[in-house]
Amino acid sequence: MTSSNTATMAVARNYKDYGSALWKRIILTREGAVFAALILVIIIASVTVKHFAAPITATYLLLDIAPILLIALPMTLVIITGEIDLSVASTAALASVTLGTLHQAGMPLELAALVAIIVGALAGALNGFLITVVGLPSLAVTIGTLALYRGLAVGLLGTTAVTDFTEFWKDLAKSKIGGSAIPSVVILIAVLAVAFAILLHFTQFGRGIYAIGLSPEAARFSGVRVERTKFILFVMSGSVSALAGIFYTLRFSSARGDNQTGLELSVIAAVLLGGVSIFGGRGALHGVLAGVLLIGTLGSALRLASVTSDVINIITGTLLVASVVSTSVLAWIRSKRSRPGGKKPETAAATKS
């Protein structure tokens, strides 16, 4: 996808206009639009939907979207480099099954969880190896490992489920901070989110991630270690997915091979909605977090308004399509305006990836 063609990128990507005022650059962005939509949804829902403003709503909302929030963090970085990881949900299930099987065999939960995270990291490392060392397209590789890791997870446990976990950890997964309505898992998410935000936005490594997404060749010539960066990102993606799998397992105290099937698409939808370009090179973590929250809040508000929970699928899809189409429509209008009377951008008409 990264190397598809330059004409598409010229259309799909718009750089920050560093000549404009700082507040404009912060507020008038894709991320700003997602935040505005999120706030709008929260306000409208609080006023019109009964019980939406109740604290318990926030608790369940955050518990429900916690795995998506967690996995979206490394996924953002992976997509900014122009790659993609479809195997995250399967990795989470593999970690869940590892945790369950080892705990059942008598291993203490803490140790089993550690092993599960290592398994996740190894799963990510295999993806990274195939993509960076062997040089295969990440889309194809992770479709393969999606099936492979899910198959291992289902194969290990069959149709059985491990449901017996230590009470302390089960309670912790469901507990709240002090007397508030915020679940404790938010602390974990916040710590990781800050860590990933610093990594992406304030370090040399993070600048390298953007550089790779914009142009892998240029990045390499300017000294970015492209392969190593991508490999590290896939290992991170695997580890955090495993963490999300462990959380899910403990919350529902059920380790099953088919846990979280299809979660990869929800994560990717949320990340793209949050303003990350599928071509790579563009996006920011706060936009992604707002994107996940937007989808989650909409879903929870609609459920409370007893709209069939499945309408949320239609809305998620429409938001996703609208968010990407709007970008190209805006780019098209801008290019039209910039050359008045000129012909339409011919180069763009032909290209698609």
Binding site: T308, G317, V325
Partner: protein
Amino acid sequence: MTTQTTTTQSSFGTRVLHGAGNFAKARETGILIAFVLVVVAATVKNPNFLFSNDGFRDLLLTPSILLLVAVGQAVVIITRNVDLSVGSTLGLSAYLTGRLFIDFPGIPILAVFLIGILFGGLLGLVNGALVAFARVPALVITLGTLYIYRGINVWWTGSDRINASDMPKDFLALGTQQFFSIPVLTIIALVVLIAAGWYLRNQRGGRELYAIGSDPGAANLYGLKVTQRVLVAFVVCGALAGLAGVLYAARYGTINSQAGSGFELEAVGAAVIGGVAIFGGSGTVWGAAIGAFLLFTINRALPILGVQDFWQRAVVGVLIIGAIVLDRVLSLRQSRKLVEARDN
């Protein structure tokens, strides 16, 4: 990622094209051998796998629906796009089939087929128009329509379910009927396969799809109607998923709101196993068809070979990864050969 294109910058030199043709042939032969090996191994273990009437029928029947979807998927992937919404399209079309029989008793079966295909084509047109005109990556658009179509399906179906008793006997018989011991479903799938294979190999439009997939920019500069071709590829893919939906209804008899979910990855998997490069420009529908057969046959062969069928997905994963590694090795060798030929 860029190397696949080197093997198929073919639309200009016949010599290169010839080489690429041979290379592709070798690739499909490999997957065919794998398929035959699986069938032979399972048959040796249990002769009923192939030689009983039921075994033979299942061998041909089960992969036929996936075959149709995989052929459509291959056409789209060849143009360097992807259609993730096929599973949802199939589900909607299957439910529509059932509804047609319930709401219009006595509707001719042929009309149902036509409506299913047209409906699928319409859904494909939506994908194609968004991808071609809005110039947005197909992965994102069809991920969106995957949700939208499935959402519409769930909304429309609710907890309702179409049962076999809702559909006429003649229609359901199509699902199991055989014609000279070959199931009718398989014959339909094979006719589509042959037509698609012929068109892609011999017709100008088909060759242009490869050119577009190899290098969209170059195809445009060369004067090919890129937008139109891509649009048509999506319509074909949707129409085939629609047809598959009608056949799904005939084959299984019960349709709920989740019919065909997850099919998109199976279809992409079948195409990739069959040697269709995920970044376009190379591969054939024949490969995708054999890939579809291999996927479903392994599913049935594993329990016979003494492996629990829980492991089936793991085997599929290994197959997909093995296939793309093989493609990579072959394309590297091919480009090395081409460089040598040029330097001499």
